[in-house]
Assembly symmetry: C2
Homo-oligomer: 331 residues x 2
């Protein structure tokens, strides 16, 4: 099959072996995939991943031995393939299973290939009528929902999202649904405008500028994708407030924590979230993900798509596996 | 009056001006004070404090203009003197008032002098019959109670306290009351023995040794007082578990946070706590603080007391203001 392969660098290969689903897993034909900042970080060395990247996808189950009812079903999938039997899994924290593999990130080939495999237990049916270009956002939207799974954000809270990238825009939209007093801070006026049109307050700051004049927030979400986002976001949290850390990247974040003790700040690391909740929000059109689509490429132009996704300020770049191929870059 | 004074270094002075209580405050004659690690850190430059150190005390109200009912009452006191009217105070977070002074730590002379002043609103009556040497632990015990104020520790939780210093021993005793599965890790066999005698599981590790063989904990409390405690304690927290940071010290704690995001760890900075709860625990003899007393010195030997408190592994050193003076070092 055709696949994007990351070894020392990215290659497009025509003859990658089509996977065969092990027991309990399904073979899925990928219809559409999204490129995430994490994919760009993998190329930089994050997680030391080698193989097929890609973890945002929508596809159709081609073969599911022992679970034939899934065959033909359009699905999205939880990217964490857990053992299901260890103490962590039995405690309900399967996304933290110490034996897990993670689709296109750790120990498991991902979605930027014509086929992938995932455990049947990881699959969620996509509602009929939901376009692929919406369903493909299920995984990143679930990561945004994870904030509300971990932190009780009240309708009366003052909340700040730092970062107007793809993740920041999704986090902001989910947080806006709580009714909280929300401000999103970012460096890109055109991206902030997407939120402003939705009625979300935004603050445009230049790179390196200090954020001034904002009252301290009950909850701050750091979604810049950069290590230097920590200090800025930390300074925006009120005493006893909560700082949610959403960014993951290659390279260490070194944070000065002494004053976080004095101010009794709660820091919450936040990663993958609940896919069913994300699907519900998408089905209810509570979140507008199509506003985040910057470009679509056919799969044979995936290297170009990757380069596009790596441009400074780029929003979501989608990769389309279904013929007819659309013109490169047309959205 | 006689006072211990910190400028470039510590001095014992005979002629420090006796304070006069401003409106709303009380003049308190100190009966007994405790020396805390924070006091030792102040000498190292923490908070850049200059003045009379000391914030653990029990004393008697000598003069309380407008609140004469307090006069003659033996009291302990909340060390955070807040404005009472700002948004932070009105939200119930007076210990984080941006205008606050802190007894013997920031902008306010402390308890290692014959007299101190504190707002009447900060005072709590000491129950009759409670010895000074017990009541003087109210403030540090309240700091230990703050953990339970911030984090829901369940009776079924696996909890680790890292550090067997004064704060670690108090935190451990408070946590033990929840019924949780508790292990305290420390470097001093004789201090761990205090807890072992109370039925708390302990693990003695040599300085620099790696902690091995312990299952990951739901909640870990970092109470080592050293920056290097972070990495060790972090490694002991299960995914989605909670790490409570109790240590404050001069100098920056630089923590690698990327893996805390991947593991979705919650970090909670924790400082001063509820004095009434601490007094209730002391009155119920639910916590044994006298086991932590290492030495008592008369106030005129306070410099010797400070040197004693600074010895590696020293437990609580008390300073006694009441005649007759006891022999130095006798407990």
């Amino acid at each position: 099959m055709r696949a994007l392969l990351l070894d020392e660098e990215l290659h497009f290969v025509e003859d990658y072996p089509t996977p065969s689903p092990p027991p309990g897993e399904a073979l899925i034909r990928v219809e559409m995939a999204g490129i995430c900042n994490t994919d760009l970080e993998l190329v930089q060395g994050y997680m030391h991943f080698r193989g097929v990247p890609g973890h945002e996808f929508v596809g159709v189950v081609e073969h599911a031995p022992g679970a034939e009812a899934w065959e033909g079903q359009r699905v999205v999938g939880d990217i964490n393939a857990a053992c299901g039997v260890c103490a962590t899994c039995r405690a309900g924290r399967h996304t933290h299973c110490p034996h897990r593999t993670t689709l296109g990130i750790n120990g498991r080939d991902g979605a930027l290939a014509e086929y992938l495999t995932l455990p049947v237990a990881n699959l969620y049916a996509v509602p009929e009528g939901m376009p692929d270009e919406v369903a493909v956002f299920t995984e990143p939207l679930a990561a945004a929902c994870e904030i509300l799974e971990q932190v009780h954000v009240r309708p009366t809270d003052r909340v700040i999202v730092l970062g107007d990238g793809k993740l920041g825009l999704l986090c902001a939209q989910v947080l806006a649904l709580t009714g909280c007093e929300l401000t999103v801070i970012g460096r890109h006026a055109e991206k902030l405008d997407i939120l402003a049109r939705m009625g979300v307050a935004t603050l445009h700051v230049e790179r390196g500028a200090t954020v001034k004049g904002l009252p301290l927030a009950d909850v701050v979400v750091e979604a810049t994708g950069h290590p230097d986002g920590y200090a800025t976001s930390r300074a925006l949290v009120r005493p006893r407030g909560t700082l949610v850390l959403k960014s993951t990247y290659h390279g260490a974040l070194e944070a000065a924590l002494t004053m976080a003790v004095v101010d009794e700040i709660t820091l919450v690391g936040s990663r993958c979230g609940p896919l069913p909740a994300a699907l519900r929000l998408l089905e209810r059109s509570a979140v507008d993900v199509t506003a985040l689509i910057e470009a679509r490429y056919p799969f044979d132009a995936v290297l170009t798509a990757f380069a596009h996704a790596g441009r400074r300020g780029a929003l979501k770049v989608l990769v389309d596996f279904t013929p007819p191929a659309r013109p490169a870059g047309a959205s």
